[in-house]
Structure formats: structure tokens, C-alpha cells
Symmetry: C2
């Protein structure tokens, strides 16, 4: 956990962060009737959220992020922040990895967490990122 | 060009569409001093925009979409629409492909263009998609 997390920046720490988890894709060779890895990851994340520390973090499942070959796939977004898409996350160990990253992301200006502070699964799993998108009335 | 393009839907046809082009990544083995493929694609798109037909379409270059191995990489976004990221686009032929797709995207509810209407480069080049993100004041 970085120093940033212990000293939240008031200008960014309150803004909501959304974790979108693709609940559609299947693990390669997986039982088609088994719960999808993304559904397990989303459930694990919801269980692990700290009601106080993570009050501004939401977990949502989405039908398809079109990264079908790299489950689990997630996206992190927040107003005024870069949006990131990550793949190759394990439905079990990915919970702690993602929750830690979501807290870093929440505290970072523009959502850009310094490279050296990112977990290996986050560094290797990046699929794409998008710049902060304008909001209604801003243009 | 689809029938949709000849009969714009008034509820969607006016909303701006942004094409974000990554101008950072280099073609594999490319001359490091040559113009980046994304810069060429963005310039081609701007030249090809029809001032009347594409008044609601903007072309912007961005520094990095983190899809570094699949240039050219672009994203299409618009308020209330799914955001799409595409890679493997040719800087020359990609102009017509993308402009056609941007017009389809602009007319499609939620930005979801029917699969059968998408060009092959669009079908094959998808990197990721993101659901419409909430705008300020909507939550």
C-alpha cells in the first residue's frame, strides 16, 4: 500500500470509482455451465469492499467488454480520470490485486497510478486506456 | 453505406462523435524518425471529413491508448454511446474504413452498429469496448 493511500488527497479521494467486470467470457476449456470467472471476481470484489474505505468504489458486471480471449476482464473508470481496461485477471487472486489498484486509482490525479506502484498483474494485464472523456455541458 | 446513413435518426444523429487516434506507437520495424502511423491516419481523417456530413465528428490525437503492439489504434466515443477501441488499422486505407464506421456509429442507438454492417477491419480490429459512462449529475 503506498503512502498516497494513507494520505488521501481531498481533491480526488471523494470522486466515485467504478469497477466494471465482464461477466460473459469463459475460461478457455472451462465448463460451459460453471459460473463465469468474471461473475466470481465481481462477487469476490463486492465481499471484499471495506464499507468505510471503499465507500466511493462500485462494482458492476457488464455483458461484454469485447476482450473475450483474456478473462477475467475489467475496466476502471471515474469522472475526470483515464479509463483503463485490464485482462488476464485471476477470479480469486484478482480480488486483492484489483481492490488495491482501485484504491490507488481513486487517489491518483487523473487516475494515472505511477508504474512502479502498480502490481505485476496490472502492469502485464493492460488491454487499453482512454483519456478522460468530456462530460455533458463541458463542451 | 447503409440505409441508416441515408435516413438519419434525429435523436442520435446530432450528438458529437469523437475519434481519438493514438499518435505515439510506431509500426514494427518502422523508421523511428518517420511520422507515426497514427499521425498520418489522423491527418488523413481530418482531410476526409465532409464539413456538412461530418459536422458532429471530431478527430483528436492522443499520446497513448496502451495498445502499443497494434498500430494504428483508435477509439470512438460519444455521449450515451458505447466506447470502442480498435487496432491494426492501416494509416491509408483506415481513413475510409474509420470515416464510414464513424458515420454508422453516429447514427446507431448506443453506438452499437450491427455486426453485419461493420467492415472487416472493424470486425477484426476490436480491442475492447466500454458501456456508456454516466455523466455529471446523472448519479
Amino acid at each position: 500500500m503506498s503512502t498516497q493511500l494513507q494520505q488521501p488527497r481531498p481533491e480526488t479521494g471523494r470522486a466515485p470509482v467504478r469497477i466494471l467486470v465482464c461477466a460473459t467470457c469463459r475460461a478457455a476449456g472451462g465448463d460451459p455451465d460453471a459460473p463465469r470467472p468474471g461473475a466470481l471476481l465481481a462477487a469476490g470484489l463486492r465481499d471484499a469492499l471495506d464499507p468505510t474505505l471503499d465507500a466511493a468504489v462500485s462494482v458492476e458486471t457488464v455483458e461484454c467488454l469485447s476482450v473475450c480471449k483474456r478473462p477475467c476482464t475489467v475496466a476502471l473508470s471515474g469522472e475526470g480520470r483515464w479509463t483503463y481496461v485490464y485482462g488476464d485477471l485471476d477470479p480469486a487472486s484478482g480480488v486483492e490485486t484489483l481492490l488495491t489498484f482501485a484504491r490507488q486509482y481513486r487517489e491518483a490525479p487523473d487516475g494515472i497510478v505511477p508504474w512502479r506502484e502498480r502490481a505485476e498483474a496490472i502492469r502485464k494485464g493492460v488491454v487499453a486506456r482512454l483519456p478522460p472523456l468530456p462530460i455533458a455541458g463541458s463542451r
